[in-house]
Amino acid sequence: MADFALTLTDISDRRLGPLSLALLPGEIAGVVGPAGAGKSRLLRVTAGAVRPRTGDVRVWGMRVADPAARPLIGYSADPSTFPRGLTVQEVLMYYARLHCAASSERSPRGLVRDALETAGLAASADLLVDALGRADLHRLSFAQAALGGRRVLLLDEPFSGLDAFARRDLRGRIARLAAEGVAVLITSRDPAALERLAARVLVMRDGRIVRAGPLATLLGERILEVILDAPPAEPPPGFRLTAAGLEASLTGRTVEAALALCRAHRLPVRASRVRVKSLEEVVLETQDRH
């Protein structure tokens, strides 16, 4: 049991489960699904903020309600709110003092310095939290969750509202922590945000995990995109219409066979390309199927 960084066993409550999952040290698991699917609830239960009706959450073998587990598990809520009237550094110092109350091994200043560096917030350390932009607020939320060398991170919608640059930066920082052995459970309404980060994806709907697997397996399916000079009245069997032409899954057939079918239907093919199915498509398909 203690080989896993995080285990959830038969968790259920009014709006969640039953569900079980386990995270290895250094693993990044993404939870995707539409609004109201139960992603945030799952994280709140995992963080110990909500007690489930049944089941057990353990962090490195310890029950999450155990005070000894609290320094090991960090939680970033969506949206994150912090004490008013404080600077970034003061907010982190407040949390760091709580960590140092539990253990006198490290000084609060050292913890704050590390957290600022981990989240890339050193330049904003003296800014008031009320004046922070969205990207820095997300970084601060990430910093407080990671503060004190936590071994499990629960990040609720850390990419929501961020531009591509801020997303890439935060993604890199999360990946670096995972490379050091920190297990990360991360939720996102936007599956594309997790596509370059999560090694495993859990698709949620109505409080249950309806599909789960390694990202490489979920994205294994290849799609043939065909760009046409003029759209056909009706697509050939196995194809569907797109804005630029047609597309078809390559499961069970070759590219040549699919293109031959287009030629047989006398379609004006201008170009074609093969791509892998996106996580967004996988999630939407899963949602439609259920």
Binding site: A47, G48, A49, V50, P67, R70, P71, I73, G74, Y75, A77, S80, T81, F82, P83, R84, G85, L86, T87, E90, Y94, Y95, R97, L98, H99, C100, A101, A102, L128, Q144, A145, L147, G148
Partner: protein
């Protein structure tokens, strides 16, 4: 020891707020007004009791009244602390500036130790009650509590219920004023009345425990 460290961490939240939010200026305005009233209209005991009680209510609004402060408790509780430490630390963060205001006002109008004692105990009781009230009902409750303390809380219940309708309303009003924190009650602390002291201490403890329970529910 760990509990005290967590309480200390919560208490330290007050220092930046005194200078960066309206808390400092509001306490300063209250102190100035009370000292002026002490020189023209109010007796010294009323000034110190009002400084402790009204200073505490302003502190309650500033320390736990804001929506972000209450929502932020969820984040605070994800760190190694306890609802009890948060309640005790924030109570302390409310009481210390209010007690400092009592000291300043008493010094300005003429130092008497028994007045300071009454003012600080009134501050402790009102902080405990006010913190629980505002955590439960929000910042608007602080305004209502402030008005009650500034006006009705100074008058003994037998005088107030005389103007209310007889019957159940009268009984409820008299009971609330007898049981709840009110300045007419705490005037007797200055004379060393044990009943008044116990009343203030009971509201201090009960307020912190209720706040602790409300904070644990905000996880």
């Amino acid at each position: 020891m760990r509990f005290l460290h967590c309480v200390h961490a919560e208490f330290l939240l007050v220092a930046p707020r005194l200078t960066r939010t309206r808390l400092g200026i509001a306490l300063l305005a209250l102190g100035t007004t009370l000292v002026w009233l002490g020189a023209h209209a109010l007796d010294a005991l009323t000034v110190t009791l009002q400084a402790g009680a009204l200073g505490s209510i302003i502190g309650v609004a500033a320390i736990v009244g804001d929506e972000t402060d209450r929502v932020g408790l969820t984040t605070a509780l994800s760190h190694p602390t306890t609802p009890h430490a948060i309640a005790a630390g924030r109570w302390l963060a409310i009481v210390v500036p209010a007690s400092a205001l009592v000291l300043v006002c008493t010094t300005a109008i003429g130092w008497r130790t028994n007045l300071v004692f009454a003012g600080v105990l009134a501050s402790a009781a009102v902080s405990g009650f006010g913190m629980a009230l505002v955590l439960w009902l929000g910042r608007g409750a602080a305004l209502a509590f402030f008005l009650f303390m500034a006006v009705a809380g100074t008058v003994p219940p037998e005088r107030l219920v005389d103007i209310a309708r007889p019957g159940i309303v009268r009984l409820a009003a008299a009971s609330a004023m007898e049981l709840g924190p009110a300045l007419w009650h705490y005037r007797d602390i200055a004379d060393g009345d044990p009943g008044a002291i116990v009343h203030a201490l009971a509201w201090t403890g009960l307020g912190i425990l209720t706040a602790r329970w409300l904070i644990s529910r905000s996880r």
